[in-house]
């Protein structure tokens, strides 16, 4: 279990993390979401005692990281896959880590096997592809068989098979009762992996809830309607107070359930070609909720772009 209380980090004038308080529970995968520059990596570094908080604290199982004895056996973390000396072999890298926390050398071979790097264990890490470096990082997180796992962008550089593997793997780790905390930008992947979400923006907590709640809260539930007699249906819908907008070949209705729309159509002798409740996507929810907290904006109109990509995947 990870607990952050009033966590604050200030670099000179800039406040990177502002009074952050949240809890990460065991037994499930918790996603850590936020736009660029929101303070995710800073928060994770503070969890591992690498950066000192200006105020507040973060504890793992009730203790600060620096108070843990043999910390790799309690917390395993992958922050940056490239933090390996390029001339060192993968095995040597894991060996020194294992030795420092009195982890048996056999474990090194075990984790290499789990991530599938046994054949290249003796090769220098500088020659690894991004995917292989990522897997080495995951291996080092697993080294101590820890009950808490922190992953910062773990799917970065993995091919689809790798992405599926890490997703299933994280879920299996969570099922074993461990605490799994994953930060990522890949919203579609997050929606499939995480059951709880901690969302931050500009250093502040925006929300902490389950993934479903987050999506439901942020997106309106709408129903897509297609019909040859839309001109009769539209006024009827507006009469009952629903909001109607045009949308490629049909109408998007919000404020009325699909049941109600179906009955209304029957009453007005309107044939329905499509009556589809629209599930909000995590991407839309994310854009909507974190809209003002993006640190470094681009010029693309993000709301339209999100709606367009959501429509494309539907």
């Amino acid at each position: 279990m990870i607990e952050a209380q009033g966590l604050t980090k200030r670099y000179g004038d800039k406040i990177a993390v502002d009074d952050l308080s949240f809890t990460v529970n065991p037994g499930r995968v918790t996603g850590f979401l936020g736009p660029n520059g929101a303070g995710k990596s800073t928060t994770m570094r503070m969890m591992l005692g690498l950066d000192n908080p200006t105020r507040g604290s973060v504890t793992i199982g009730g203790k600060r990281y620096t108070e843990l004895h043999h910390p790799l056996r309690t917390v395993g973390a992958l922050l940056e896959a490239r933090w390996v000396h390029p001339n060192r072999s993968a095995r040597a890298h894991l060996s020194w880590m294992a030795k420092s926390n009195k982890i048996s050398p056999k474990r090194v071979d075990e984790v290499l096997d789990i991530v599938g790097l046994t054949e290249v264990a003796g090769k220098r890490a500088g020659g690894f592809s991004l995917g292989m470096s990522q897997r080495l990082g995951i291996a080092s997180a697993l080294l101590g068989d820890p009950e808490v796992l922190l992953f910062d962008e773990p799917v970065n550089g993995l091919d689809p098979e790798g992405i599926l593997w890490i997703r299933k793997f994280m879920q299996r780790l969570a099922d074993e009762g461990r605490t799994v905390f994953v930060s990522s930008h890949l919203l579609s992947e997050m929606a499939l992996t995480a059951t709880e979400l901690v969302v931050i923006g500009k250093g502040k907590l925006i929300s902490q809830s389950t993934t479903e709640e987050f999506v439901a809260r942020a997106t309106d539930s709408t129903v897509k309607v297609r019909s040859p007699q839309l001109d009769r249906l539209r006024p009827a819908l507006e009469d009952i107070g629903a909001t109607v907008t045009e949308s490629d070949g049909g109408l998007l209705v919000s404020g009325a359930s699909s049941d109600k729309i179906g009955e209304l159509a029957m009453e007005n002798r309107v044939t329905l070609h499509e009556l589809a409740p629209q599930q909000g996507s995590l991407e839309q929810a994310f854009m909507q909720i974190t809209g003002d907290s993006v640190e470094y904006h681009t010029d693309i109109d993000t709301a339209d772009a999100a709606a367009a990509s959501a429509a494309a995947t539907n």
């Binding site: 570094r45 950066d51 790799l72 490239r82 933090w83 001339n87 040597a92 060996s95 020194w96």
Partner: protein, 253 residues
């Protein structure tokens, strides 16, 4: 103990310590060979002359020591180190110890290699290690290299940047101290107490190992006795290390 083993694994699983050791040995050995083979009755081969090149080797060793810590910062493995061992002081102290031990080893090997090479080149010269001064001249190279390595590690921890730290260490060691003597009036007095000058006193003493020969490597101007000189240099190294460790502990990784 475990931490020492960890640092040993880390240091010896990269290529730089092996290359540095080789370079130090070749450099000192080669230069010594050149010096000793060109000795003559006016410039005789003495025990002191076998160790003229020790500062070259020491410079290489200091580069090795600095790199041992700056490459960790460069490749980000310092964060992995502090993740595995949150007690930063213990981790960095272990690293310094391992580097100092290796520096001691390389220093002694290079000193005795130069001495042995000289005996092979000029077998008729009196190069036996008879007096304390002779022994200090040859075997004293090791401890001085070890302490110099500690200083270099401390600079590496403070500066963190490979090129910057190495430049600082080399320029100071090879040039800066000597330039102090150019300061009018007080330059020579300050120079008497400059750390590497004092360290040189430990190795060369008052010139007894040179048998009173007039030429050669300038002697140290320090007024301390050789053993006190070593203590002074050790004190300097310890102070540098303490400052470095305190800084590393407080700042962000």
């Amino acid at each position: 103990m475990t931490l020492l083993a960890v640092e040993r694994i880390k240091l010896l699983s990269t290529r730089s310590p092996w290359w540095c050791a080789l370079t130090a040995l070749l450099l000192t050995g080669g230069f010594t060979a050149l010096v000793v083979s060109n000795t003559s009755p006016q410039f005789p081969a003495t025990v002191a002359s076998t160790q003229f090149a020790y500062s070259f080797g020491m410079a290489v060793i200091m580069v090795l020591a600095t790199l041992a810590v700056t490459t960790e910062y460069r490749f980000g493995t310092i964060r992995t180190t502090f993740q595995a061992v949150p007690n930063r002081t213990a981790a960095l102290l272990a690293k310094t110890s391992v580097v100092a031990l290796i520096a001691l080893l390389i220093g002694e090997v290079m000193a005795f290699l130069s001495w042995g090479l000289s005996m092979a080149i000029k077998p008729e010269a009196d190069l036996a290690l008879n007096s304390t001064a002779d022994w200090l001249n040859v075997a004293g190279v090791g401890p001085v290299c070890a302490l110099a390595a500690v200083v270099a590690v401390a600079v590496g921890i403070l500066v963190r940047h490979s090129a910057g730290a190495i430049s600082l260490v080399l320029i100071y060691f090879l040039a800066a101290e000597n330039l102090i003597t150019l300061i009018p009036e007080i330059g020579d007095d300050i120079y008497k107490w400059m750390p590497f000058n004092v360290a040189h006193k430990f190795v060369t003493g008052d010139g007894e190992s040179a048998g009173g020969a007039a030429f050669g490597q300038p002697l140290s101007t320090s007024t301390l006795s050789p053993w006190w000189a070593l203590a002074y240099f050790a004190g300097f190294a310890v102070i540098m290390l303490v400052v470095a460790l305190a800084t590393a502990r407080k700042r962000d990784a």
